[in-house]
């Protein structure tokens, strides 16, 4: 039997050539550092983020001078005082946090059955349909989405024409706070389902059958078995939806009719409309601190291990 590099396929030869290059620039003795090398791009990205944050923190301690439209040299807490004192800011902060809580709760409640049905269905056609429904929104831009909502929820939209036809009058949902929440839930749902699906997949169907045979009805099984076992997915999805919502800019703009602004809108206005970079920075710093604290508390309570980042696994 002859073994020769020439007998290898072109692809294999390419791969072995790449291997030779790797061996030349990254010799075997550097192997322990390989993990760090892979981390490098991520570290760079985070470093850029941190640098930007540092600039922002610094800006947040300087007041705007309106005779030159530059930040003053002196450090001061004025911007933070303004954020805390102006009723406008407390209003939007409360509104944003409340929205994040409500949207997270509703999204999880809706996403779980969706993910469950998608994972458990025996019919390939059903699963395909659910998957299409899941990924379709990703291909639809914000603007198209905005018009879509107008068509459905507008004064003369689908919902109101239907209600009128049924003799039930009309409801005003678009350009209201509930409208923003509806838009956010619809926007977040695919993210939540995508994060819950693996969690549901990780629960063997046998476990549910076992619970059933042991005397638990469907809801008891849901409460005592399914929810605890999918907790990692629920926590992860909850954290993602919460942070995406609390920092969202587009949906209040699209669905809020201008009177349901979130924190991000106020930050944007400060940076780009009224040139209050310092004030906006202060608001941004508070937002980052607040969101980080919430996520930190969640992880402290349920443990990062619930995200599945732990070595130990069952069977």
């Amino acid at each position: 039997m002859t073994t020769s590099a020439r007998n290898r396929s072109p692809l294999l030869r390419l791969l072995f050539a790449a291997e030779a290059v790797r061996a030349a620039i990254w010799p075997q003795r550097m192997r322990p550092a390989t993990g760090w090398a892979f981390l490098l791009p991520a570290v760079l990205l985070v470093a850029i983020l941190v640098a930007g944050m540092a600039y922002m923190v610094d800006a947040s301690f300087h007041e705007l001078d309106r005779s030159t439209f530059r930040l003053t040299e002196e450090y001061s807490l004025t911007n933070y005082e303004t954020v805390l004192e102006r009723p406008f800011y407390s209003t939007i902060i409360i509104r944003t946090v409340l929205a994040a809580v409500i949207v997270t709760a509703i999204t999880l409640v809706l996403a779980f059955p969706y993910a469950y049905a998608m994972v458990r269905t025996k019919r390939a056609a059903t699963r395909k349909l659910l998957l299409i429904g899941l990924f379709l929104p990703f291909f639809i831009g914000q603007v198209v989405r905005a018009y879509g909502w107008l068509i459905v929820l507008g004064q003369e939209g689908l919902l109101n024409s239907t209600l009128t036809w049924m003799g039930l009058g009309t409801v005003k949902l678009i350009y209201t706070y509930p409208g923003v929440l509806i838009g956010l839930v619809q926007y977040m749902l695919p993210f939540a389902v995508l994060m819950l699906a693996p969690a549901v997949t990780a629960v063997p169907e046998e476990v549910e059958l076992a619970s059933d045979s042991l005397g638990a009805g469907w809801f008891a099984t849901l409460w005592h078995v399914l929810l605890p076992m999918t907790k990692p997915g629920l926590v992860a999805a909850g954290v993602v939806v919460f942070t995406l919502t609390i920092t969202d800019y587009a949906m209040p703009e699209i669905m809020g009719g201008g009177t349901s602004d979130f924190i991000a809108s106020a930050i944007y206005d400060g940076y780009f409309s009224t040139d209050e970079q310092g004030l906006s920075s202060a608001l941004a710093v508070l937002l980052v601190l607040g969101a980080t604290t919430v996520v930190g508390v969640v992880f402290a309570l349920v443990g990062v291990g619930t995200l599945g980042y732990s070595a130990r696994r069952l069977r």
Partner: protein, 376 residues
């Protein structure tokens, strides 16, 4: 888009004698403008031409008018292509500021901006002086920004924040007062700009104050806006108004005449009026950021100069439906005599103008107060 102002109605008007002379000698003045342009272009053979000039503009009818009136003829005359950058005016400003701060070449050659925002950039010292442009000759006093001896900005036209309304909602004829916004039947069907721009001074008058209360006593205005808040108004930006009118979401709005006119030209049954309380009038202008290479600065100035020439200005401003800061040009047919297209002393007397320095100083606070009321 954020829009702003001027310093007193008088600045829009020529002294009576000049007005008469100007009307008689329109052809002559156009010739003067044209020959000035040609002489400069002749000199310009020595200055290296850039491949293109980047001009920031607003989209839709705005950029179309600029292109037809200024950019295309400019390219035809000089061979320099003009690229329109449709970045939001508010988003380009911080980028120019940081470019100048860091000694980089700014992202655009010419910024088409509201006078208030342009003034902020001028105060920050990032604008080139345009005092030596030949075509400044013959412009109205309003072309020069208030509070400056030089021309860091050239104001090119004025515009009015009109009361736009859906004609079907007013079978009895056009509304005569902004107070219709408070009528029960328009609850949830009223719209303003999302920071209240163009409306703060009007609100003061509506709330029982006078023009002299601005800026020291804005409280009557805030009182009136609190009553409007109960009407659940929609707050948006230029394109929103068109969308909302089109979909029957609103009946009444305070918006710039150009947006209402564009909607009307698109077949939406919208009309506009200047109510008895008046309406706010503002100006826009052109400016050039500091930090351009010398030759590019030269050609950027040529572009602005070209924009100020009578022919270019007439096409551009008529496309927008806005009165230019150059007297004696022919207004668009549909707007002649419209109080929202102010050209005479009587027209301006009905409008409310707040000096730019006041706006620069106070508008951010008014936005904040407006937000506080509307977001509550």
């Amino acid at each position: 888009m954020t829009k702003t102002t001027l310093t007193g109605t008088r600045r829009f008007l020529l002294p009576r004698r000049r007005l008469l002379a100007g009307a008689g000698a329109l052809g002559a003045s156009a010739t003067i403008g044209g020959s000035a342009l040609l002489s400069r272009l002749a000199r310009a053979q020595d200055v290296e031409k850039p491949e293109e000039i980047i001009v920031r503009a607003w989209g839709g009818v705005w950029v179309e008018s600029l292109d037809a009136g200024v950019s295309q003829p400019f390219t035809a005359a000089t061979g320099i292509a003009v690229r329109h950058d449709l970045t939001e005016d508010n988003e380009i400003r911080p980028r120019i500021w940081s470019a100048v701060d860091q000694g980089r070449v700014p992202p655009i050659h010419v910024n088409w901006d509201t006078t208030t925002n342009a003034t902020k950039s001028a105060l920050r010292g990032v604008t080139e002086d345009l005092s030596d442009l030949a075509n400044l000759e013959g412009l109205l006093p309003a072309a020069q920004p208030a509070g400056f001896d030089s021309y860091p900005i050239v104001n090119t036209y004025s515009y009015v924040y009109v009361l736009a309304y859906r004609e079907e909602a007013f079978p009895e004829g056009p509304p005569t007062s902004w107070n219709v916004m408070l009528e029960e039947r328009f609850k949830g069907r009223v719209a303003l700009y999302d920071d209240g721009i163009g409306f703060h001074p009007v609100a003061v008058i509506l709330g029982g104050g006078t023009i002299d209360d601005i800026p020291d006593n804005m409280e009557p205005g805030w009182d009136w806006l609190r009553r409007l808040k109960a009407q659940e108004p929609l707050l948006g930006e230029d394109p929103d108004f068109t969308t909302w009118f089109q979909n029957g979401e609103i009946d009444v709005a305070c918006t710039i005449i150009s947006n209402a006119r564009e909607a009307k030209m698109n077949g939406i049954p919208v009309a506009w009026t200047v109510p008895q309380e008046g309406a706010k009038v503002d100006t826009d202008g052109l400016w050039i950021p500091k930090g351009l290479p010398e030759n590019e600065l030269y050609w950027a100035k040529e572009y602005v100069n070209f924009a100020l020439s009578p022919a270019a200005m007439e096409t551009w401003c008529n496309g927008l439906g806005l009165p230019p800061t150059r007297p004696g040009l022919t207004p668009p047919e549909d707007l002649a005599g419209d109080p929202a297209y102010p050209t005479t002393q009587e027209d301006f007397a009905r409008l409310i103008s707040v000096p730019t320095p006041v706006l620069v100083e106070h508008e951010a606070d008014w936005f904040a107060k407006f937000n506080e009321i509307m977001q509550g």
